[in-house]
Amino acid sequence: MKLYSLSVLHKGATKSNLLKAAYDLSSFSFFQRSSVQEFMTFTSALIVERSGLGSRASVKEQDYLCHVYVRNDSLGAVVIADSEYPSRVCFTLLDKVLDDFSRQVDPIDWPSGSPTTIQFTALDAYLAKYQNPREADAMTKVQAELDETKIILHNTMESLLERGEKLDDLVQKSEHLGNQSKAFYKTARKQNSCCEVM
């Protein structure tokens, strides 16, 4: 499960304007990287142009999925991921990125910005962090931990049952031992009292 790119765009009246982008192209060969990056930028811009305000969408393209979220204030974000990545986590990521972005960058810069003028460094960090959806998304993490705990508890129950069996075994053995020791004691006492000879 990988994320390939994460970009923030501003959706203008006629076309959309790339504000900032982060790419993770390590899985492509060195010579393809620049063209792939161009392609991703273009796709993101196109998708944002075609999405309405306040909508979320997922577009399937070859074997990649592009998730887009355009807010009501014309700020949009696109993440391009492979087909295994859970879409819910993508949308959570988009929400977070847009929140952060709108807090850090002035709305005045939005319509006219470009990647060189906008100062927003967290995009790379987000992309790196969300490469592993399990750890990044709170809900997925909680669910994974809960499942783990449940498995551990099942194992505990099994070992508890085994312990029960062993305890039963021990009870029987200790009863047997007790009986034998009692017989021993009786024999010893008999020996003492019965024959006073020699």
């Binding site: 999405s51 807010r71 949308f91 312990r163 021990l170 021993f184």
Partner: protein, 350 residues
């Protein structure tokens, strides 16, 4: 005997009529008829209530004898109007009491609803309606009790001292019940706001941006469609984008919004179920461990028995050993003495 007069008619030592009983107002209204009828009225209160003796008939005869002893009709009228005033008061008080108990029941239901703590299945509308109804009831009860108090005060001059204190006590008890109920209501509202705050914080914990949920799909896919038509012509040729836009775009947009929110809701519900299951597993674990503790105690007892027995047997054997080893000395001594005697005998006899 005045011992069992809780709901019977009140009278002082001489049996003079002072005031009506709370449970028999209709009876007294029927007793207005100045015609001396000889005990025709069966008391509407069931005589089967075994804890009080029914002395209605005696009371009526006493009334009538008193009335005939006094000036007759002119003074019976003010007495009758006093009776009517008293019965008004009691009717009013009864009505207020009944309303109070109804409102209490509603408040209990509200308490139960407000205590629910799950994130889903929150009956907010019901709770709000019920809150509104209970508030209205409390207000109206307040007004009614104020009216009752006015009534009591206005008729203060005409009644006897005991009657006055009785009315005041009734009003005060109704007021205190109403105060208790409004306190309960306030605490229920506080509990409800706490739960709402908790829910909100839990929701925020699991979804980082709770404000962006509103799906306004109808507006969106129309705009999307029109943009689509415009952009179709402008598509450049060298980049092949395999996107299936036409018919599925509409469905996709609507479904995407709903499915995102739906999937989050499902996940949350999943998490909640899992946590509940975990709780029950822990409980079962605790139960099983407790059961096994009994077994462990049995083992402990058995082993202690064994060790005790072995100790005792060891002691016995030690004793035996000592006796055996001690015995040998005695045996040797005895033999020695015997041999000496034998030698002495043979020496002496030979």
């Amino acid at each position: 005997m005045n011992t069992r007069r809780r709901h019977g008619p009140r009278s002082n030592e001489d049996g003079v009529y002072l005031g009506p009983s709370l449970t028999q107002p209709q009876l007294l209204q029927q007793a207005e008829a100045p015609v001396p009828t000889s005990l025709p009225l069966a008391p509407p209160v069931d005589a089967g209530r075994g804890s009080c003796r029914d002395r209605t008939t005696e009371f009526q005869s006493v009334c009538r004898s008193l009335q005939s002893r006094q000036n007759g009709i002119p003074t019976s009228k003010p007495a009758l109007s006093a009776v009517r005033q008293r019965s008004d008061f009691t009717l009013f008080a009864k009505r207020i009491g009944r309303n109070l108990s109804n409102t209490f029941a509603k408040l209990e239901k509200l308490t139960m609803l407000a205590k629910r703590k799950s994130l889903f299945d929150d009956k907010a509308t019901e709770i709000d309606e019920l809150t509104y109804i209970v508030k209205q009831d409390i207000n109206s009860l307040n007004k009614q009790i104020a009216q009752l108090q006015e009534l009591v005060r206005s008729r203060g001059g005409q009644n006897g001292r005991h009657l006055q204190t009785h009315s005041n006590t009734v009003v005060v008890s109704l007021q205190s019940k109403l105060a208790a109920m409004s306190n309960d209501f306030k605490s229920v509202l506080e509990v409800r706001t706490e739960n709402l705050k908790e829910q909100h914080s839990r929701r925020e914990q699991f979804s980082q941006a709770p404000a962006h949920y509103a799906p306004n799909s109808a507006h969106n896919f129309n705009a999307g469609n029109s943009l689509l038509m415009q952009d179709e012509s402008k598509q450049p040729g060298d980049v092949s984008i395999d996107m299936d836009f036409r018919a599925s775009q509409q469905m996709q947009l609507v479904n995407e919004q709903n499915s995102y929110i739906q999937s989050r809701a499902d996940t949350m519900q999943n998490i909640e179920t899992t946590i509940v299951e975990l709780g029950s597993i822990f409980q079962q674990l605790a139960h099983m461990v407790k059961e096994q503790e009994e077994t462990v105690q049995r083992i402990d007892a058995n082993v202690e028995d064994t060790s005790f027995n072995v100790e005792a047997a060891h002691t016995e054997i030690l004793k035996y050993f000592q006796s055996v080893s001690a015995n040998r000395w005695l045996l040797i001594k005895i033999f020695l003495i015997l041999i000496i005697f034998f030698i002495v005998f043979t020496v002496f006899l030979a």
